[in-house]
């Protein structure tokens, strides 16, 4: 028997999601058994099974340094505050230019 990790996807709506694991003797049995273990109510319409020991996993802190990269996160706060300041200092100009556009 091998352990297989089971993934389901609701087509067009979400990414494949890990839902659990099963034990199975062959690939075809893994698919057949995964269906009734995890998708009895059609919880997904696409199904993957992956042998657990075929998964290549990175060590725990492999990704961690990337949690501290603020320069990759332009969340718009800076832009919003600049826009606000600009609006307040020259609101009439903005309005004029908007009028020009509508004309």
């Amino acid at each position: 028997m091998n352990v297989y990790e089971v993934f389901l996807k609701k087509d067009g709506r979400e990414e494949f999601r890990h839902v659990g694991a099963i034990e199975a003797a062959t690939e075809d049995l893994a698919l057949v058994l995964a269906r009734e273990s995890y998708a009895r109510r059609a919880e997904g319409d696409l199904l993957w099974v992956v042998r657990r020991n075929h998964v290549i996993s990175a060590e725990e802190d492999f990704v961690a340094p990337n949690a501290d990269k603020p320069h990759r996160h332009h969340d718009g706060a800076a832009v919003a505050s600049r826009r606000k300041a600009a609006r307040e200092s020259s609101s009439h100009k903005v309005a004029e230019s908007a009028d020009e556009v509508t004309h």
Binding site: I22, A24, A25, D28, L29, V32, L33, E36, S37
Partner: protein
């Protein structure tokens, strides 16, 4: 026509019932879930087929409060002699190997049987058929995936051969039509006789169980006459030889010894208070 539909419905009903007897006690948990689902599918087919019988009688079946009790009357409330099930589905298995072999044989047959109805002139039957066929593909895949692996192992092979010895003689009865089939053929409700399915079913079985034939555990004619080679000790141990079901049961009008005890058990709560709605 009623008898024609009932024969299929009764087969599906009892087959579903038999499969679900394994809930909680299958060989491993994943298999427990899969086999129970297959049993539920067969019960669902039975309910749809009983519903078609009711529609023949002019009953409006869109309201479950009306149709469900009427379905239950057909499923549980007829006299034994009015049922048209085959002996294969009435048989209570003693071993999981028998349940597996019967599952493969029944579902291989069932798929062929549905195919005869896909172009039925009875439109609701044709639509039930297309739903059922979608489910059947999974049933067959499940049985085959298990057998692919199990037939590689010597002990499992011997046990499956012993199970075939019990199940195979009941197969001609499975392919035996009811008297009402002639009418269904004449009206285009079905496009062929289930009697003609014995040959393709036998061929498929010879291919499926070729490893057993190669090992001399069974002969190629194992379905037709119940002739099994290698008469050494039974791998399923202390079994006494079961009743021989190879005789035809005259248009499915005879019930086997297993039928009455099963029906009594299934009716226990219904009989407790016949006026009750549960």
């Amino acid at each position: 026509m009623r008898e024609f539909l009932l024969a299929f419905a009764d087969d599906e009903h009892l087959m579903g019932q038999q499969h679900t007897e394994w809930i909680g006690v299958a060989p491993f948990l994943e298999e427990d879930l899969a086999f129970s689902s297959i049993g539920q599918d067969e019960l669902g087919h039975a309910a749809m087929l009983y519903e078609l019988v009711l529609e023949l009688n002019g009953l409006e079946t869109s309201d479950p409060a009306i149709s469900d009790p009427a379905i239950d009357k057909l499923a549980f409330g007829r006299s034994s002699s009015d049922y048209r099930s085959c002996h294969l589905v009435e048989y209570s298995t003693r071993h999981w190997s028998e349940a597996l072999v019967r599952h493969w044989i029944y579902d291989t047959f069932e798929e062929l049987r549905w195919r005869l109805l896909i172009d039925s002139t009875m439109t609701p039957l044709a639509s039930v058929t297309s739903k059922a066929l979608r489910e059947e593909a999974f049933h067959r895949r499940h049985a085959n995936a298990l057998l692919d692996k199990l037939l590689e192992a010597p002990e499992a092979r011997a046990r499956i051969a012993a199970a075939l010895k019990v199940i195979a003689p009941m197969v001609p009865g499975l392919c035996e039509p009811v008297a009402g089939e002639a009418e269904a053929l004449a009206e285009g409700v079905t496009t062929g006789s289930i009697a003609d399915l014995l040959e393709p079913l036998t061929e498929a079985a010879n291919r499926r169980f070729a490893q057993l034939i190669d090992c001399g555990l069974v002969t190629t004619g194992f379905i037709g006459g119940g002739i099994i080679g290698g008469s050494q000790t039974d791998a399923n141990s202390s079994d006494t030889n079961p009743q021989d079901y190879s005789h035809a049961s005259s248009g499915r009008t005879q019930r086997s010894e297993f039928f009455d005890p099963l029906m009594t058990r299934m009716r226990e709560v219904l009989d407790y208070d016949p006026t009750a709605v549960w």
